[in-house]
Symmetry: C2
Subunit: 206 residues, 2 copies
């Protein structure tokens, strides 16, 4: 408003605050993985060794806590995709491998899946964030395969992402990973150039 607003440098965050934030996040991952999306938040606080008030200060809603956990997972997936993109494999193979690796990744967090399923439907912000990040990572692999003329160009990264995750959600018997990988192979074959499906509209931006 007036000429010179005194720029108050904000304090650096308190050490205990940072520590508690991390503790709660870690505890939440464990508790949700075991107890599903309806697990007790007071249980999370207990597990983290903090008061319930502290939990709520850091994550004002259950949804916020979900999202924090989820985002962390997404970041790991992106990293994975980037690593895969630097290898030089035939483009379709690189693509197929990422999809398969993705399945394995989900496997290690299988307990979270119900929670994630709920999150997907509950928060479009969250899905937007993760689809954006993962979509970019996958997009690189996809573009190479398309450019090489190996697969059709009318299927977006988002389409593939949703397919992979959807298939993972639907399986949890022992051996499900193998089953999902093989179904993904069927899908990839359907994506090859020369397939007969009708045109798939490109995913609109945003």
């Amino acid at each position: 408003m007036d000429g010179v607003t005194p720029t108050k440098r904000p304090r650096k965050p308190r050490a205990d605050s940072v520590r508690n934030h991390d503790r709660v996040l870690e505890a939440a991952r464990t508790v949700f993985a075991e107890g599903g999306p309806a697990a007790s938040l007071e249980g999370v606080a207990r597990q983290a060794g903090v008061g319930i008030g502290t939990l709520y200060r850091h994550f004002p809603t259950r949804q916020a806590l979900f999202e924090a956990v989820y985002r962390h997972e997404v970041d790991q997936l992106v990293e994975l995709a980037e690593r895969l993109a630097t290898d030089d494999l035939p483009p379709v193979e690189a693509l197929r491998r990422w999809m398969r690796a993705n399945v394995e990744f989900v496997a290690t967090k299988k307990g979270m899946s119900a929670a994630l399923a709920v999150a997907v439907h509950a928060s479009s912000d969250l899905t937007a964030y993760s689809i954006d990040r993962l979509g970019r990572a996958l997009g690189t692999l996809l573009a190479r395969a398309v450019k090489a003329g190996a697969i059709r160009d009318d299927i977006g990264a988002e389409d593939i992402l949703r397919t992979v995750v959807g298939l993972c959600y639907m399986h949890d018997k022992p051996g499900w990973q193998d089953k999902v990988r093989r179904l993904l192979d069927v899908f990839v074959d359907g994506m090859r150039r020369g397939s007969k499906a009708g045109a798939l509209p490109r995913t609109p931006p945003g």
Copy 2:
């Protein structure tokens, strides 16, 4: 045990009991569709116009109520599949149509999807029941297409079911149905004879 156990004919069920059972079921469908799987059961009772005690007598657990609603939906899907099997279309087309019709069906209950996602992971009994029923219905369509030599014979009805449902779960933006239908077309193309994917192990019985 002894010679002639006096066969006490059981009373016919009370009219009010039957009425309340139906009311609760109906209310549950609505409430879960709107509020998701964690919606208040007392809310369901209120909506149904019965006491909470009555709700619990008919459906002793939240899970039981879920399942009752879910089974009703499954029955409708089976009926739909049977109707489709009697039409005489080219087998692959019949198959594709059922998968597409399925998407439409889910669409009308979209609100339930989070609840169903939870149910899928919560109760293997329930998934067993529905996969069995739907699998038989779809199996007929599938067998015809395989017999005609149009598609590979190593993909089970259960695989297809899970794929369809998994894709539906993952989409809820406006226009999602069209997107899912097109992704299913890609999948069907991958199933055609002459595709290059590795062998998919037949789904073991049970």
